[in-house]
Symmetry: C2
Subunit: 226 residues, 2 copies
C-alpha cells in the first residue's frame, strides 16, 4: 500500500468527480494526500499533470498523473486488487461500464442542461433527465446497490446523484426526483448515503449550495448576453 | 476460441465503430458471424440487444449482448487474452484509455461538427479539429503505432481517422490534414492502413462516399429548416 508521500489527489471539496476518487481510495483503505485546487487559480502541478483538460480530479501516483474520474477508478481497481470495485466477469464488467457511461452521457448531461437553462428548454431537459433516470430505476430494481450487496464501481460513478442532485434541482429550480415515481432509486440513494465511507466524505451542504448558486447565476447571465 | 455460432457482430459495412470491433476480432483470430443491420429498419435482435441506444455495433457472445465499441474492445481484450490490445501496466492502460476518450470526445466531436456545418461555424469546428489533432501528433511522435511497435487499443480507436476522415473532409468541404503540419499522424496513417487485417477489412470507397453525401445533405437541410 502506497504511503501518503506516494499518492496525491488534486481536487476540490465540492467536486462530484473528485469524490468518486475519494470514495474509491477510502474503500480500498489507501492513504493519500489531498491537495485542494483553486479552479480560478490552478496550481502548476495541476496544469502539468493534466495539460490537455486542466481539470480535477488528478491522481498522482509516484509522480505519474492519471486524470478523468472514470479512468482513475479503473486505475485504482487494477493497481490495488483488494476489495474490487468492478466484478471479475468480463460480461458483468462491460455491463457496469455501459451504465457508468450512461450515467455520465445521459443522466448527467440532461441534468446539466436542466440546471443551465430556464423556461421551455429547462422543461425539455427536465423530461430527458427523468427519462434517463427511469432506465436506472429499472436497472437497479430491488437490488441494494447496482453491483448487488456491496457498493461498487457503478454506485461510485452514480454517487453524485444521491447527494449533489438535490442541490442541482433546488438551485436550478426544477424537479425530477419523486419517491413514488422512483422508489428503487430512492432506496438506493438511502443505501448509498448510509455507507460509512460515503457518509463521512461529503461536502458541506452550505458550501455546495453556494457553489451551485454562483454557477447558475453565471450560466444564466452568460446565456442572456448571447 | 468461440465458434461462429457463439459470436455475432451486429454492424453496418460503413460504420467506423463497427470496424473497431472487426479489427479487434481479426487481431485476436476470433471467428464470428457478421450480421448486417439496416439502420432504417433495425432488426429485432438489435433492438433487443441494445434497447437503450439502439445503435451498432453490438457483439452478442453466447446470447449475451455487449454494446459501445470502446466497451466491446475492453470485453474482447478481457475475454480472449492472447495478443492483448491494452498494455499490462495499469498506468499505461490509463494512458491509452485517456487518449481513446480524447479521440472520441474531442477529435471526433470537432470533426463531426465541421462535417455538419458550413460557413463560420465550419471554420471554427475545423480549427478545433486541427487543435485536437495537434495533441495526437505530439502523443504519437516518432512511434510506429500509438502503443509502440504493434497496433493496439488506441490505434484501433483512432483507426477511423486513417480511412474515414479523408471522406469526411472531402464530402464536408473542409481541410485539416496536411502532411507538412502533421508528419507523425501522416506516418501513423500509412502504418495503420498497411496492417494486413486493417487493409483487408475496410469499406468500399464509393459506398462510404455515398453514405457521407447522403448524411451531409440530410444534416444541412435539417439545419436550414431549423
Amino acid at each position: 500500500m502506497a504511503g501518503a508521500d506516494h499518492l496525491k489527489l488534486l481536487g476540490t471539496k465540492q467536486s462530484m468527480f473528485t469524490y468518486r476518487v475519494v470514495w474509491a481510495l477510502k474503500l480500498k483503505g489507501i492513504e493519500y494526500e489531498f491537495i485542494e485546487e483553486d479552479l480560478f487559480n490552478k496550481s502548476s502541478l495541476l496544469l502539468q499533470s493534466n495539460p490537455i483538460h486542466k481539470k480535477v480530479p488528478v491522481l498522482v501516483h509516484a509522480g505519474k498523473p492519471i486524470s478523468e474520474s472514470r479512468l482513475i477508478l479503473e486505475y485504482i481497481d487494477e493497481t490495488w486488487k483488494e476489495r474490487p470495485m468492478l466484478p471479475e466477469d468480463p460480461l458483468e464488467r462491460a455491463h457496469m461500464r455501459f451504465w457508468a457511461s450512461f450515467v455520465d452521457d445521459k443522466l448527467m448531461e440532461a441534468s446539466r442542461k436542466a440546471f443551465a437553462s430556464s423556461g421551455e428548454d429547462q422543461a425539455k431537459a427536465t423530461e430527458l433527465t427523468a427519462e434517463a433516470l427511469k432506465f436506472l430505476e429499472e436497472e437497479i430494481g430491488g437490488k441494494k446497490f447496482f453491483g448487488g450487496e456491496e457498493m461498487g464501481f457503478l454506485d461510485i460513478m452514480m454517487g453524485w446523484f444521491a447527494y449533489w442532485f438535490p442541490f442541482i434541482e433546488e438551485v436550478g429550480g426544477f424537479k425530477v426526483m419523486d419517491p413514488t415515481k422512483f422508489p428503487c432509486i430512492t432506496a438506493w440513494t438511502n443505501n448509498f448515503l448510509q455507507v460509512p465511507i460515503v457518509h463521512q466524505n461529503l461536502p458541506q451542504p452550505d458550501e455546495l449550495r453556494n457553489v451551485f448558486l454562483g454557477f447558475r447565476s453565471f450560466l444564466l447571465s452568460a446565456h442572456k448576453d448571447h
